[in-house]
């Protein structure tokens, strides 16, 4: 059933043709902005001894296409609207877990975005700006695992944030807090190795770093294979913790929910 929901999520995204072209253009502009920044600072600025421009261009292209956090924002808004209108009840009456259904739809939406938008944009922009392959076959495999972990963490954290909507009723502010947190701590825009040391030391241990930074660092070979495995295990610990937090919040939300009217 959850597979059917994932397929439905894919088809829903695919049914808006105009939106498809918009997302394609959006993806291209996003990559252009990020790559332009790195080209500017590497070619006209001080550059970096830790990483080369071709590596940063690859980081920017993958960061803009594979590690979009757009669906997380969408999820918070949709769930917020359901909580506010009371429609969440119709989901709760179904013989399926609402959070797992949401995740299935999120996976479907992400699969659509990655296959039909992210991949073409990455291929075309990679051809224009240059694109580096994974550091090794082992890094490629661990990168694939880290993408799955990233998606799971993004979903559990976004759903946990949206669940707070049962108490505060308005999820707009929650959405903005989540967006800001992901922009600053996920490393999707700027890799954590450019952060000031004190900040980087703390951010390296937060779960948000597994949403974009660590998968990209693994892809580029900035971590060796053993370090990559240990990092993934650490991230797995965060996945378990965030799933536990979501389960607790969800149970508490369901207990306090009172539905009036019908």
């Amino acid at each position: 059933m959850y597979l059917a929901l994932a397929v439905a999520g894919f088809r829903t995204e695919a049914s808006f043709r105009a939106q498809f072209w918009f997302l394609l253009l959006s993806g291209v502009l996003n990559v252009v902005a990020r790559v332009s920044i790195w080209q500017s600072v590497f070619q006209h600025g001080t550059g970096s001894a830790d990483i080369s421009l071709p590596q940063m261009v690859t980081y920017a292209i993958l960061g803009a296409t594979v590690f979009s956090t757009w669906e997380a924002s969408q999820l918070v808004r949709e769930m917020g609207a359901d909580i506010r209108s009371g429609n969440v009840v119709s989901h709760l009456m179904r013989p399926a877990s609402y959070p797992v259904s949401l995740m299935a739809r999120l996976i479907g939406g992400r699969a659509h975005e990655t296959l039909l938008i992210g991949l073409p944009v990455a291929v075309v922009m990679g051809a224009v700006y240059g694109f580096q392959p994974p550091a090794s076959l082992g890094h490629a495999l661990l990168f694939a695992l880290s993408v799955a972990l990233s998606l799971f963490l993004l979903f559990t954290l976004a759903t946990a944030v949206a669940t707070i909507g049962f108490w505060v009723m308005d999820t707009l502010a929650l959405d903005w807090f989540l967006r800001g947190t992901l922009a600053l701590f996920s490393g999707g825009l700027v890799p954590l190795w450019f952060y000031p040391d004190g900040v980087a030391n703390a951010v390296h241990h937060l779960p948000f770093a597994w949403i974009a930074f660590y998968p990209l660092a693994i892809y580029l070979g900035q971590l060796d294979l053993m370090e990559s495995v240990v990092t993934l295990l650490y991230g797995l610990g965060w996945a378990v913790a965030s799933a536990g937090l979501l389960a607790l919040l969800w149970r508490a939300a369901c207990r306090r929910m009172v539905v009036q009217g019908g």
Binding site: A18, Q19, F22, L25, S26, L29, N30, V32, A33, S36, I37, Q39, S40, V41, H44, G45, T46, G47, S48, D170, L172, A173, L174, D175, W176, F177, R179, G180, T181, A183, L184, L189, V190, F194, Y195, P196
Partner: protein
């Protein structure tokens, strides 16, 4: 005069409605300011790590970002949320009911829906400008103060006019919401120094999608930095871009309204 007092009355009504949930409004301001400040934080990391971005140092970039968010907020509070829902108004036939009222539909939407959720944007923008200006050694005179204020008003007008043009498209195309998405993609590009982009994109942001005049051109003109393609005309272009776009938006709105046939019932 009577029309103006009606608009003010509509604004007062909307303000009273929004101020019913003050704590919620305040949290919203803080959250949105945090969202923007986080992105600006990543730009600060790049600028401080690499010393310059497109030839601009951090205080110059901070002034540009503050100018960008403030100009946007001042224009969007009269337009964005109100006009974002234009396609629903058209599809459900609600727009038809606005056309039979004795005031302009655009003005009714703008004033009756004035959105005071931009408090966080405004505080952040003013704060960043106030922090950056004393560090930049600008040779202040009456003329430079007038230039700063006029180009800020121009940026606000540019925002309102561009959002109006996009909303007007819904009158003809029925769907226009995705155009707002494209607007924001270009809008995000316009908060970086234009010199980091390739020439075709610089040209686009100074002509077809003139969001380069939102912050880059006015701030570069104020700081006396060279502006590609328009050079010495930058201070005048920064001041005139908004009013010119307002004229364009009025013409587009009227043309789309003439072609409007209704889509709902």
């Amino acid at each position: 005069m009577q029309t103006l007092s009606l608009y003010l009355y509509l604004v007062r009504l909307q303000l009273r409605t929004r101020l019913q949930y003050r704590a919620n409004l305040l949290i919203g301001w803080v959250a949105q300011a945090f969202g923007y400040a986080s992105v600006y934080g990543t730009i600060w990391i790049i600028a401080s790590r690499f010393e310059r971005l497109g030839g601009w140092v951090w205080p110059e970039i901070a002034l540009m970002l503050g100018f960008h968010v403030l100009g946007y907020a001042l224009g969007a509070l009269f337009t964005f949320v109100q006009l974002r829902g234009m396609e629903e108004l058209v599809r459900l036939g609600t727009y038809d009911t606005l056309m039979v009222r004795p005031v302009s539909p655009w003005a009714f939407l703008a004033f009756s829906g004035i959105n005071i959720e931009y408090g966080g944007h405004i505080a952040l923008g003013v704060g960043m400008i106030a922090w950056a200006l004393p560090q930049l050694g600008i040779d202040w005179s009456v003329l430079t103060v007038a230039q700063l204020v006029a180009s800020l008003i121009s940026a606000a007008l540019l925002t309102g006019a561009t959002l109006t043009i996009i909303a007007a498209m819904a009158l003809v195309l029925t769907r226009s919401r995705y155009l707002f998405g494209i607007y924001f993609d270009f809008w995000e590009l316009s908060r970086y120094p234009l010199t980091i982009f390739a020439l075709p994109l610089q040209l686009t942001l100074l002509s077809i999608v003139p969001l380069g005049y939102m912050a880059y051109v006015p701030v570069a003109a104020l700081l006396g930095k060279p502006v590609p393609l328009i050079g010495a005309a930058a201070p005048f272009a920064a001041i005139l871009a908004g009013p010119v776009m307002v004229v364009v938006a009025m013409l587009v709105w009227q043309a789309c309204q003439r072609r409007y046939q209704g889509a709902g019932g």
